[in-house]
Symmetry: D2
Subunit: 432 residues, 4 copies
């Protein structure tokens, strides 16, 4: 029996208040869809089954190099982070798993498993961290200032490899099945790094890690255009990520973070190419307008998020075989992180639900006939549907909240933890 | 004996005027390099050997969708284009080969060979054209409005394949050894095209073309981010181009056009990745600030061009095995196209000469030591060298002009052809 | 009594078929809004009143510098263009005015007025054209290859000024009240043009035009980042456009084309700044993913279009005083232009309707309290509303079609004009 | 008599070693220029006079939101920062003034003046800081999480205004004559902030600050596209900055940071527009490839830096009247900050020297004649000149080092301060 962080009656009360309007909306949408020959219940059932992992680090307030402005009740360690993550899942019923970051979340695996079990959640892909120094981690005494897995010094590479292996081991102990490797390695000036040799070193290191991967695990290579490196980044785009996954073999896949691309890039097409290459491993969901802004999913360009899901749903059984890992990766600088993660999980499901509602047979026929107008309108008409009633019903049926942010606010959870957890200090980022 | 388009004495007179200054500059640079332990003669010799192909279409005035403003003396067909190309080579001694575009340059192969031989030039990679309709080409009656090699209609795909095969055949007859395939296929609206199936059809078509490739030929896949398609492009980036070359096998390579990337992309790193993948096939050189602006090489960001050549020179024998095809691909809207191609050939050689002057042992040592300052300054100090005397000397030794634009202007060539060739009409582009 | 291009019974039949579903949808939406305290009828009434002008040139098939692929039944002149424009208005009841382009649309003003009256439409802002040569226009014999209003040669500037004055005169004769000036002036290479003097010359020319402006007219300065010029553009952004409008005085305003900005730019904020400066003159609506793609409004980023309208609606009475001119400016390369303009008019009204549905008091309160979550959700929840029933009802009430694309297709209009109007030729754009 | 941080004999020894080569290079360049009719001495004299300020914060190691990797001997406070700044000036003789950041550099003004005087340096524009919280500053207890000068809460605005006034007062006491205001105010989500009202509040606050400005001071408004705000930024571009300076009046000007623009923007044109508006106040020099990367000036796109100086030199006496403030603003993450600032000061002078060498009469004539080829080559040929001998000679004559990075390394300064100053801790940035 799980120990829910929010009292059940609070959710029930909130749902009771929202119920009449919700039922009217759900019924009206059901009728509208029925007129199009769509069974709303089938869609709702699929949405109930769709889950996305939350990142342990996402429940703390994020910041920029200029400043971090913490909110109240910041979690002081992984156990308090799991509490916060459990709130999100309790209210959304969409985020049953948490993705850990090592060494930030290092703790006794048995205690982690027990805590998670008590909260009714599990662990998703593990994340290693070699983009920062960890002077307090006895296993990582050497600096990553000039790189990690691609460093010119073999000792630093060995340390970074060992850290990844340790991350796998922790993951094994808590039931994870995948390792996501994102490195900040790169250079700030032309000439600083040999672009070719750096990649060779990275590949060698990744092979050493992959050699230690359990048979039922996957390893994800995550690319990023820039930041923290500002001239070249070793794994700078999906092409390099694909080369990596190809070299590493059948357990290696590419992870797509929506904010890690060049301006104007068509991300949904990259998703489709990786599906064809059999190498789509998963997602880090977020939204962005400029760079890797790490904003709430769907907050800047909701149509783009829908188009990604349109490719996923359209891939059908091919996608099922790949079974990509869906994870949120955001930085919550001005909102309550729990609220942002609740909203983001909903937005991701919204895009999924809208993609389910695309008339695929009609779309295919218009595409075949080069009827650009009707093909694009077929897609747009699914996006235009206000599927909030489906999302709310999916939450409600699974035991969550019809309006999860309202229920969260009603619960007083934030005030409660703020009273228990000492305020963390405001501070600058990389600016000194 | 070749029939040079510009009288030899004009070049000689121009060189005689420029000679004293040139010799002083060359001697001063030689001394400076000698103090660094570099033999200027060795560099000059390599520059003499470095050639880049010019595009037949480049000698006509280009335009935008808004307008085309022709200059005087526009070439009326491939034979006049070859005359213009020969002027460029005569003065630069850097552009011994011409890249043809079919069906624009379709003509009797024997006549083409004879004409080229008389001008002392040869033919480089062939270019097919399925991004336009060719209502007057009996072999291409069907419209490419909705695509060519990736069209939903197999009849259109067959036509496009046959056109490519015909282009190979013409190339074989005139001594070419490579086919560059660039298609404009894509879509303008989300939903218009199935992103995955369009790529599958493209790959099938490319395989059919590759199956008809002579054993000593290469086929180049050229990617482009956008334009003429404005939502998705089938071969949108180097990742898709690499997947294509991998599927097609050992005769297939990727061609990099410097203007076909997303904003801010690190192009030199892509070049290095393709070298590692064994798939760098060649270049379309030009420069750009916004999109595929097709400006004169090195005119907007000369340091970027240098960085590309730094990767090429740095790849050493690996590059020699790949032997990439160097070609210019520009649109000359406001300059005399001959002058722009002369200048561009020089700029490309300039970047090559500067890259030759990088202290590679020093650079490698600084990189190994993570001395970012000295590594980047090592590169920058080579770029800062004013190598114009080397370029001029390389031209002069091979029989070209010390100052080729000045010699060209002195020759009165443009006025001469303007008197012979009727003025072409100014007009709008895609604007109606 | 107007002479509608599509028989009234066709529209009636189409509406009859769509009516039952439409009424159910409209009623359901009305109920939903009523529960939020919103009167759907008030919104519908405002939508009925919202009009956007169509561009005469938009009813022809557009193209790129690579190719133009014409559709069937292309209009041969301004009178046929007006017929096509009238179809759009008949079905949408959203586009009562047409924006003309001189000299393309030059014709006897009386005949133009009579034709428009017969079709029930009027004329909006006039557009001059000095970005192309017009060798057949006796008033514009000089070339604009190197600029028009900013040309170094005073004779060319005089010609361009005179052309704008002529455009005003034509506009006066047909009832227009504004002149939109967009020039392609700029340069392709650093150094080609003196950036400061070019702007001075432009300002002088604009002042000369403004001096000829009737007292009840406005003049719009339209900026564009690049294309056709690829290094510098004289009026490159809203800052330069604002300086222009400030210099020209009280009749001068800035026109915002949604596709004329740098990547990632926040366009809605520019709109708000121009409102504050008292200089927002109007819009050219379209959508884009890369450059000035000129795609159908709302087809790429519908949320962005909504955010622009959110600023407009939010400006309230300040906006009413400015009374900006709403115009569509698109290039229809792969669709039937009439269908694209129908859809775009609807999308623009959709964004307007959604913006009307924003809970402004709630939004302001959340903003004041820095409740970023609820403020952004307040906006998003209005965007998520499927307001198609309101748009359909607004069309229906004004005599248009519930589903205007379906009615258009049912009418056979395109096939009809294709039978009358000779096919125009496929061709390249600026590529030769 | 100043107390130089590096012993004079170290510089003398280094210069003695470099002298022979330097003299040969300077003589050769002098001869080359003389052949073009240019007196190298006149250029050298101007370079000697050209100064650029260094930022106090620039001598500490910077970082990103992901991590900060400090180097050895980090300065612990403003007095040690001034020591480091003095090293840069001693070796380059290009950076006689330091720009302070309050409250970071808050100290007794008399002590600051005395210290600076002892080092032979002075103080340039002051920088206020309201983009971070300063919980230890008794004058700034309120949080800037949701903005500062544009905050919805008048109390926060008052605090931010008072902080700026205090910064002016400190500046007055130490001889500064300008205040640079950069705020991070903006929003992360559409709807979070009212875009118009936020600007109104900002303007009101700036007016309150300007009202407190001494009569001989200037106030600089600095725009930035994004970061730390990721959806909207209150002063997002030069258009808004210009509106600000116009509202504030004759003491207000715009400051251009080279890294604060949208991708692909033509920065040199903005500089020229601000010159025409009479509002160019100064620069923050740095270089970037992606966003506000804050890399060493000229390290990514040296031609762009040259083009900015081409506009400045070309503006002649108009610029002299504006007398813009030249400052460096960079983040040194992987280099010794002193070395990066030495190099950057040189690069800025390099661009200035190259711009001085442009044949302006020739350029103007080619521009007037629309000879795009020769106009652009005129500019390029100045950029291609290797002016390092002029820069070295300018340093040498003023008492600096021929090769300042080499002299710095020979001095052992970094090892010396590293022995005295305790190591600062590596750490994450905004990532928790």
């Amino acid at each position: 029996m799980t120990d829910l962080p929010i009292a059940a009656d609070i959710v029930e009360t909130a749902n009771a208040q929202a119920r009449a309007d919700h039922e009217a909306d759900y019924a009206a949408l059901g009728e509208k869809l029925a007129r199009r020959g769509v069974d709303v219940e089938a869609v709702t059932a699929k949405v109930v089954d769709f889950a996305v992992a939350v990142p342990s680090w996402g429940v703390g307030t994020g910041g920029t190099r200029f400043a971090r402005f913490p909110g109240g009740g910041e979690p002081r360690g992984i156990f308090e982070k799991l509490d916060d993550c459990a709130v999100i899942h309790q209210l959304t019923r969409a985020t049953p798993a948490v993705s850990l970051h090592i060494p930030w979340d290092k703790a006794d695996p048995a205690a982690l498993k027990e805590k998670a079990a008590s909260l009714g959640i599990t662990f998703d892909a593990m994340n290693s961290n070699t983009f920062q120094d960890h002077p307090d981690d006895p296993n990582q005494p050497l600096s990553y200032k000039y790189g990690s897995l691609s460093h010119t010094d073999p000792a630093v590479r060995e340390q970074a490899i060992a850290h990844n292996v340790e991350t796998i081991e922790i993951g094994q102990a808590i039931g994870s099945k995948a390792l996501t490797v994102w490195i900040g390695d790169g250079s700030n000036f032309p000439g600083q790094s040999d672009l070719g040799r750096a990649f060779d070193r990275y590949l060698d290191s990744m092979k050493a890690i992959a050699a230690r991967l359990p048979a039922d695990w996957r390893i994800f290579s995550e690319h990023k255009m820039y930041e923290p490196a500002f001239y070249s980044t070793v794994v700078q785009d999906w092409g390099t990520s694909l080369m990596t996954a190809q070299e590493l073999g059948s357990q290696a896949f590419c992870l797509v973070d929506l904010g890690h691309h060049a301006p104007n890039v068509n991300i949904e097409q990259i998703v489709t190419r990786l599906i064809r290459a059999g190498k789509l491993g998963g997602f880090h969901f977020n939204d962005s307008k400029y760079g890797d802004d790490d904003l709430d999913s769907g907050s800047i360009d909701p149509f783009r998020l829908f188009l990604v899901f349109n490719e996923l749903v359209g891939a059908g059984s091919t996608l099922d075989r790949l079974s990509p890992a869906y994870m949120i990766d955001q930085s919550h600088n001005v909102t309550d992180p729990i609220e942002s993660l609740i909203r983001s999980a909903n937005e991701i499901r919204r895009a999924y639900a809208q993609a389910l509602l695309v008339d695929r047979a009609g779309l295919a026929a218009f595409q075949e006939a080069n009827d650009a107008m009707m093909a694009s309108e077929t897609l747009k008409s699914a996006f235009r549907l206000d599927v909030e009633p489906i999302l709310a019903e999916a939450r409600r049926r699974a035991g969550g909240a019809i309006d999860p942010v309202a229920a969260y606010r009603a619960s007083g959870y934030r005030a409660g933890v703020a009273a228990e957890r000492p305020a963390s200090k405001s501070g600058g980022g990389g600016i000194v």
